[in-house]
């Protein structure tokens, strides 16, 4: 199972506590993980990436294994530790005042 950590506001929207545990079929990439997030929690569609273009929203970041993966292409494989469930995939609201 893939572990996904959401920021507080998105956990509230999805009505979940703690990490998500998601099944991802096929290669584990940003795209496949986010597809699984949105399939399980449709309310999150459009909040992490654009509905149509699927581009990451500007103030959302993706981290894993102490790396910033925000600028990786969506179909790049995520680190093995994410694919095995040893490490979570972090969706983070960027630090920006307000």
């Amino acid at each position: 199972m893939i572990r996904v950590v959401l920021p507080t506001h998105l956990r509230t929207l999805a009505r979940v506590d703690g990490e998500l545990q998601l099944r991802v079929d096929g290669p584990v990439t940003q795209r496949s993980v986010l597809d699984a997030v949105e399939a399980n929690f449709p309310v999150l569609s459009g909040t992490i990436r654009d509905h149509v273009t699927h581009r990451r929203r500007s103030f959302v970041r993706f981290y894993a294994c102490e790396q910033d993966l925000s600028h990786e292409v969506p179909d790049a494989p995520l680190p093995d530790a994410v694919a095995t469930g040893d490490e979570p995939f972090l969706v983070v609201g960027a630090m920006a005042g307000g």
Binding site: L10, V43, S45, V52, R57, F59
Partner: protein
């Protein structure tokens, strides 16, 4: 039980303020959607327990929330606002053409007759409609497709469609206003639109009398006289007696004719309220005195309403969607400030008192009269 529900959208959540018909003691619930900007929330005239809210943030984008129990509980509904067809371009600040890009929903206007039908005014300026309670949204693209569309350009606050007025006597007629394009009207339920800006005069644009390009801030109508419209423009308070075909200035003796909201009394169609603001760069009341101005003559002659409002050192603003009225026998008037106060008057504006003083900056105030 007769009462009033005041729906308040703020920079950091929504609040629901409730009272009986005396409007002396208020229950306050919230924040709902804590931490999110609530540009607007409004109830259905056809079912007062059906509410819609626009919830957004710079991080996570746009959501629409719906309540079926007067704001006690909410559920997120559809948030996909896709422009119809090829989005096209409009004029950008530097004069170049810029793609139409959805940013947020500024205003939600529920149908007068169907709780599941609701209109959304969005930035970049467009009008959307849902007929399934907000689950799905479809653009009424005839508006953006008007041949002036490529000449529309954003005001300082973005290119937003912020005002939607439905004609209670004609379901085919809708008025909208866009900053900074102006006012538009459809007479065929949104298929085609035409600018209704004749008589507006704006010094800040190359042709002060242009067909489009005016920064209209807000339009108000009394339901018994849908052909009479009142407008607070960037500067100037205006009036139309022919459903927007022509406008004349009714600023009269106002201390400044800049401002954002305008509202009409529930029972007196010639009684109008505005909140004068010092200038377009000084968004606070002149002389540090928070004054609502009331005209009982449909404009031109205005009186300051000050009882209960701060008359020194007050430097808040009142935004375009942040004023409304109730329809109880003694008409109530309400407005919220960027300082987080919501003021109410239960006597048509003669005297005021704060319902609540310390909310986040108030973006919108909508009032439901419950019977």
């Amino acid at each position: 039980m007769t009462g009033v529900r005041v729906l308040v959208g703020t920079r950091k959540g929504a609040f629901v303020l409730s009272s009986n018909a005396k409007r002396e003691r208020w229950d306050i619930s919230g924040p709902h959607f804590a931490g999110w900007q609530i540009y607007h929330l409004k109830g259905s005239p056809a079912d007062p327990n059906r509410l819609y809210a626009s919830q957004s943030s710079g991080w996570f984008g746009q959501l629409i929330q719906r309540s079926n129990d007067g704001g006690k509980t909410w559920e997120a509904v559809g948030n996909k606002f896709a422009y119809d067809g090829i989005a096209g371009t409009h004029q950008w600040y530097d004069g170049t053409q810029h793609p139409w890009e959805f940013a947020r929903v500024w205003h939600l206007e529920p149908s007068l007759t169907d709780p599941d039908t609701v209109y959304a005014g969005v930035e970049d300026a467009a009008l959307f409609r849902s007929t399934d309670g907000g689950s799905t949204w479809k653009e009424l693209s005839g508006l953006r497709g008007h041949n002036s569309g490529p000449r529309w350009q954003p005001g300082a606050g973005g290119m937003c469609l912020h005002t939607i007025v439905l004609d209670p006597s004609n379901p085919e007629r809708i008025f909208v206003a866009i900053s900074a394009a102006g006012a538009f009207r459809t007479d065929d339920a949104g298929k085609t639109w035409r600018p209704i800006n004749r008589g507006l005069r704006s010094q800040g644009i190359p042709d002060p009398n242009a067909e489009v390009g005016h920064c209209v801030h807000r339009i108000a109508m009394h339901p018994s006289r849908p052909g009479v419209l009142f407008m607070q423009k960037h500067w100037d308070v205006m009036r139309s007696d022919d459903a927007g075909d022509s406008w004349r200035e009714v600023s009269g003796n106002l201390p400044t004719d800049f401002g954002f909201p305008v509202a009409v009394h529930a029972h007196e169609p010639e009684t109008v309220y505005v909140v004068p603001i010092k200038s377009d760069s000084e968004h606070y009341p002149p002389d540090g005195k928070l004054r609502v101005y009331r005209s009982r003559t449909g404009g031109t002659e205005w009186e300051a309403l000050t009882k209960g409002l701060p008359q020194s050192d007050c430097y808040v603003n009142v935004l375009r969607d942040a004023m409304d009225i109730d329809s109880l026998d003694s008409c109530g008037v309400y407005f919220g400030t960027t300082g987080g106060q919501v003021y109410a008057s239960a006597d048509s504006g003669d005297s005021w008192a704060p319902i609540v003083r310390d909310l986040p900056a108030v973006l919108s105030v909508e009032v439901q009269t419950l019977t």
